[in-house]
Every structure is written in C-alpha cells, then in structure tokens.
Subunit: 281 residues, 2 copies
C-alpha cells in the first residue's frame, strides 16, 4: 500500500499521535475504485466527504489540491482502491474541537478487491446491532466499531465453517440496515427496496446511483422477514458495484433476471463495473 | 506534550497510517491523573482498559511493560495527565480484524487541567443525544464523535455568551446520561443517584469509586426534570475528581453540605483530590 499524509496542503512524513482522527475517530473517509487510472464516481465521493466535513464542522480539504494529489498517487494504477481519510487535525486533550485547524488528509492506494464469487454471495445475520444516531447517520465517519464487531462475528479461515462473504446488520429496534460494508437492496413485488439511512447506516455512493438511475427503486423500512422472503437481494458498494446474493442462512436464491438487469444497467453506465468484474472461475 | 508510541512492546517512531485506531476508532483509552509522580487509580484504569480490550477482541498490552514505560514517562512529572491509547494495531483495508496483531500503544503526558471554579460549574444541556448501544456502553473506546459534537455546541471564547464548563447529554430516548467528559450524580431524598451505563455512557473510574465507597448512592434512571429539581448535582471524572455544580440553565444551586461531604470523603481517600485541588481565587 502506498500512502501520503498531509496537514492541510502540506505533505508530512508521519501522523501526529495527537491527531483527533486517532483520539476520537473525529473524521470521515471514502474508498474509491480506481479503474484504468481513473477514480470512479469521484464527484459523488467528494460530495459525501464534504457533507461529512460540514456536519462535523471539519475544515474541508481544498478540492483541486486533493484531486491533483490523488491523481499523482494513482498515476501508475490500472485497477485499485484509493482511500481518503480526512480528520479534524491535531488537537490537545479534550473533546472541544479547535476551530479552523487544518485537516489531516491520508491518501492510500491498495489493490483491487478479489472478484465476487460467480454464483453470488453467501450472507449471514450479525448479532451486533447498529445504534440509532440521526446526527451521524448517512455519513462515512471514522466511528466504525459497530462494523468491526459485526465483521468479527465470523472468520474467513475456519475450514469447518461455511464461507460467509458478508453479514447483515439490524438497528437496535430490529429494522434491517445493510451489510457491514455494503448497502442492501431487496426485490419485492418487482421493486428494489433499500432501508433509509436517516437513523443509521451509510448513504452509499452505489446505493445513491441505483436510487437515482433505476426507476423501480425506493427507500423503505425493511424487516428481517422482508429480506428472507424477498424474490432476490443484492448488496452494493462503490468499490464492488452490485453483488447478487445466493444465500442467507437457510434461504437460497437462484439467479434472478431483475438482479442481472440491475447489474447490466450499472455496467452500461460505468464500464468499471462491466462483465470483466465477475470472476470467471 | 510528551508522547511515546509502541507496537506491542517495541518502541516505534511514528504511527502507521494504516492503524485501525485511525481507520475505525478501533481501540480504547484512559486518562489518568498524575499526582506527585504517581498515577492515581492505576489499577481501576487498567481494569477498564482490559475490559475494553476483551470486549473488542484486542490483544491487551503487557501490564508490567506498560507500567514501566508509563513510570519512565511520568518520572519528572509532579502533576499532570497520562493518556494511554491502545488500538488493534495495523490492518489492511476492511473491517475484518486481524487476529492477534500486536496492539498499538500511545502514551502521552500533558499538563494538569486548570482547577475548577471555586463557586461550582455552570452547565448547559446539549442537543446531541447519545445512541443506545449496549455492545459498547461503559467502555472508554475511541468512537467519540457524539461527545465531540456535543462539546462543539458551545465555544469557550465568545465574550457575549455565558461561560459553560460542561454540557449534559441525554440518550436518544431522553434519559440523562452524563456530561461530555464526566459522570453525573444527582442528590434526591438524601441519596446520590447516577444514570446506569448499560445502554450508553462511560463507566467512569471516579463514578465507580463513589458507588463503591459512599453508602447513600445508587444507579437509577434519571430524567431531565430529576436533574433540574435535584437538591444538588455534581460531576466527576478520574482527572478532576468531584466537581460541584452551581447552575444549569436557569436553575441555581447554593453550596450543599452533602456535596461538600462527598468531596471531603474523596479527598480523605485520595490526597490527589485534596483541598489544594480547588481554585483559591
């Protein structure tokens, strides 16, 4: 992984251990797919980053500067993932935010994720619930212990256990929110429904693309039974696109024509999510 | 501020930008009062730190090592605050925790806080609620955006505004939890009541001392009206001890004999919180 760190617009060698990103998770991040050297959905990612900075009262990065530095980092990259972290910067002890401190920016480039399984994902329910917090809901902020605990509920390496590709989380009142690192769409009565993100969850960039570009979609409260009795379900995020789901617990879904059409629509709009993206095994 | 950083037991020069403490707030911390070169309530702080590591599945620091390094850092310190951060260490992209990665440890020493105002604190209610999350409640973890947003509701520097020393937060159901960086005790019917920390809030070290050492105390659900109609209220934390409150909004409290007795009990048990601790202005 290649990393560059900045204080405002000044490149620095190392993070200050007093950075409020470390002390309090006081910042936001984005993970952006790089396809043929170009960041996919850059504008949508930056828009969410700016909303996060505004909501938290963090000085936003200078966007021209950010793009130039990002382009320099990804120059040699055919395919990968660019992560941008923006924190409130360095502070002394105590929660009171220093006004107008230059933000800390961390840019890091890592490999593209492995292609999704051809037959669809195998999901599980997570026990760790997501708390109701309207002040932070929708943002991709750095307070992510709930996702860490949920993802820690299963291991990848246990040979005597089934392989799970993702886990679904409900909020503390039992409503379904999404997967630990992806949003959820549920096909019911020919419509794709996705849980609102006003109380918790992240307003995913791919989720927004689907809601804005596919007609038969809507936000709706989704219960566990709604998921398990759906005609099809898919997960989505900005790095992996739309991922069909094959199983959740004992429920199995065969390939679904509307899910295939949904992926096709995305692939036509964004070549990064074209057929090359599917494992050929 | 003096800082030392470790990967496990190895001293390192700088934080790795891939540290999960930065990426996800994936860690815990303690802030410990140093009095005459000795950390106050060391065992209670370490016990909470270990509970946090166990709950999050983070490898705990080696305690003998931690104490030796802490002692070396505070050797010359008559009075100050030692902060210990322990994170899950360095990880690649993604929420899945690496098992058994050595923890990152950051020790930092800062000045003791200014003495509290002689006449008691002036408090306000914060609008930012605390989310209900039993899986994380009680822990002093690094996901602290709710406290940052609450503390950002007022400024210290506005000359045309009253000075607030702290703000009280309720949970998303309206129950009172505590102050942004202190626990709350409310005197009603001769008993000191403090909100439970099973759903949100931090199990403060000074709070635990009071519950364990003062007879007329109990955990109880506390509503806003219970606070405003209390005979007295105090805040407490492990760095500042017990702090009498003089005002909350339009409510004023005169000095209270039971609050004075409570502070006296603490001062007798822990000389660090003796009368020297009160401003003499």
């Amino acid at each position: 992984m290649t990393t560059r760190i900045y204080c405002g617009t000044q490149r620095i060698d190392a993070l200050d251990p007093r950075d409020r990103g470390l002390a309090y998770g006081d910042g936001v991040f984005e993970t952006i797919l790089i396809h043929r050297g170009v960041p996919v959905w850059w504008d949508a990612h930056i828009a969410r980053l700016l909303r996060g900075c505004a909501t938290l009262g963090i000085v936003a990065p200078i966007l021209d500067f950010l793009r130039v530095e990002a382009d320099a980092l990804i120059e040699q990259c055919a395919c990968g993932v660019l992560k941008i972290i923006v924190t409130r910067g360095v502070g002394e002890r105590g929660y009171a935010p220093l006004s107008n401190a230059p933000p800390t920016i961390v840019l890091s480039l890592s490999d593209a994720p492995a292609p999704p399984p051809r037959d669809g994902l195998n999901l599980r329910w997570c026990d760790t619930p997501l708390a109701i917090q309207p002040r932070l809901a929708g943002l991709k902020h750095l307070n992510r212990l709930e996702q860490v605990l949920a993802r820690a509920e299963w291991n990848d390496g246990d040979l005597d256990e089934p392989v799970f590709h993702e886990g679904l989380q409900c909020d503390t009142t039992g409503r379904v929110v999404g997967a630990t690192s992806a949003n959820l769409f549920v096909l019911r009565n020919e419509r794709w429904l996705t849980p609102p993100v006003a109380d918790c969850g992240i307003a995913g960039v791919c989720r927004s693309w689907i809601l804005g570009n596919i007609t038969e979609t809507a936000e709706a409260v989704v219960a566990r039974a709604d998921v398990e009795s759906a005609d099809a379900i898919v997960l989505c995020n900005a790095v992996r696109g739309i991922l069909p789901v094959a199983a959740l617990g004992s429920r199995r879904w065969p390939p679904n024509a509307q899910a295939i059409a949904l992926r096709q629509s995305l692939a036509e709009a964004e070549p990064a999510f074209g057929p090359m993206h599917i494992a050929q095994d």
